[in-house]
């Protein structure tokens, strides 16, 4: 016959590492087994597991699942507006999900990566080996992001646009926008436009110039984002659970809100005198936050079970 709580223990063992099991979960279940059966006592153990989840570090497998879940959620949130537009045009087709995937991944990967790091290493000092693993992973994500935003996303975006437009009665041959140019093409156009503008101020339309600058700088910013987000997560891991998760959630929400807000008409105002500056603001804000966290982490010795 199975002992009371053995199923709960099996579930918890899938989530938490051996240290957390020995320190937190097993004592709760051992006490449960020593008492008369009661639903409330079961619920208290479930609460212990729920309280543990943000408090301690999870197994790498569990952290990966959380990371992929966050990534999928963000991709879905980013795909929704263009898909809703296609739906309103009556041109929606399931294949469009695939065309929008690279664009969604370009933003979602860094958020998913940060969530995974916080789950895997939250509340404990990171070993040198783990640190090397995180750095290697973020560099790989950065390299993949460069290829994605440089070549895959522009092609996929253009395919999506053509799919939407071609099926409307007023469709016409569809030129590529700056965001649909490959990395080399957008770089060349940006250099050319900058040269013209510097030799003949006002020759290039201001909105176009800012759009082009942000299309170019935005690709570098997205390429570096996995590294910056990974550093942010590493700077947060030793914070108290509430600060850790509230901070991560706030940064994720603000970042996504900024991405949604970043549209062509607002770029000149956001950029100001710094062409393409709007693309870098999230990274710069995060770097400032990382420096602040690291400076205050020097005086911090907080560590929790796990």
């Amino acid at each position: 016959m199975k002992r009371r709580g053995s199923r709960l223990r099996a579930i918890a063992a899938r989530l938490f590492d051996a240290r957390t099991m020995a320190r937190v979960i097993d004592p709760a279940i051992a006490d449960l087994q020593a008492e008369p059966p009661s639903v409330w006592r079961y619920l208290a153990v479930i609460k212990t597991i729920a309280v543990c989840a943000p408090e301690v570090s999870m197994k790498l497998g569990t952290a990966s699942i959380v990371s992929i879940g966050v990534l999928a959620f963000v991709v879905a949130a980013l795909e929704l507006p263009p898909l809703a537009f296609a739906w309103s045009q009556g041109t929606f087709e399931p294949g469009m999900l695939v065309y929008l995937l690279p664009q969604g991944l370009a933003i979602a990967v860094q958020i998913g990566l940060a969530a995974g790091i916080l789950c895997a290493y939250g509340g404990r000092a990171i070993s040198r080996r783990a640190l090397i693993g995180v750095v290697a992973l973020s560099l790989a994500a950065s390299a993949a992001a460069f290829v994605n935003v440089g070549w895959i996303t522009p092609a996929a975006n253009q395919a999506f646009r053509e799919r939407v437009v071609r099926q409307t009665p007023t469709s016409a041959p569809f030129a590529r926008g700056f965001n649909e140019l490959t990395f080399n093409e957008v770089r060349n156009q940006y250099r050319m436009a900058s040269a013209i503008e510097s030799s003949n101020p006002g020759a290039v339309d201001s909105t176009d110039l800012h759009y082009l600058a942000n299309s170019y700088h935005g690709r570098w910013a997205v390429t570096l984002a996995p590294i910056v987000f990974a550093m942010f997560a590493l700077a947060l891991v030793r914070r108290r659970p509430l600060i850790r998760w509230a901070g991560a959630l706030a940064v994720g929400v603000v970042y996504l809100a900024y991405i949604f807000y970043l549209d062509v008409p607002v770029l000149p105002a956001l950029d100001g005198r710094w062409l393409g500056g709007a693309a870098w603001y999230p990274e710069l804000a995060l770097i400032a936050l990382i420096v602040l966290l690291m400076l205050t982490n020097r005086h911090r010795s907080y560590a929790v079970a796990g």
Partner: protein
């Protein structure tokens, strides 16, 4: 580089746990909950105890369940000398800073 000294912090719950352990000696998690007059919750006490063990304020040992009952070994908690010193220092500081709240 020399390692920075640890900053010792004590939350209200940790203070209560130390007080109970200093008063009763060794206690199970459930006994701490029972003796705390509802100030400690059974759903969160084990996380607090795990954190306090990491801080070095308490220590624990496993005690086998009675053979007739069976079950997993239960964990008994006890204040460490550091925990007792922190509790004493905290209580002294509180008495000096806020005499009106001192017991």
């Amino acid at each position: 580089m020399a390692k920075r000294p640890r900053v010792l912090t004590l939350s209200a719950k940790e203070h209560l746990v130390l007080e109970l352990l200093a008063e009763h000696g060794e206690l199970y998690g459930l006994q701490l909950v029972a003796n705390s007059r509802r100030k400690l919750k059974r759903g969160t006490v084990y996380v607090t105890l795990g954190r306090m063990e990491d801080k070095g304020y308490i220590t624990s040992r496993l005690e086998d369940a009675p053979p007739e009952m069976g079950g997993m070994p239960r964990r008994l908690y006890e204040a460490t000398p550091l925990g007792r010193r922190v509790l004493a220092a905290w209580s002294t500081a509180a008495t000096h800073l806020m005499p009106e709240f001192a017991k």
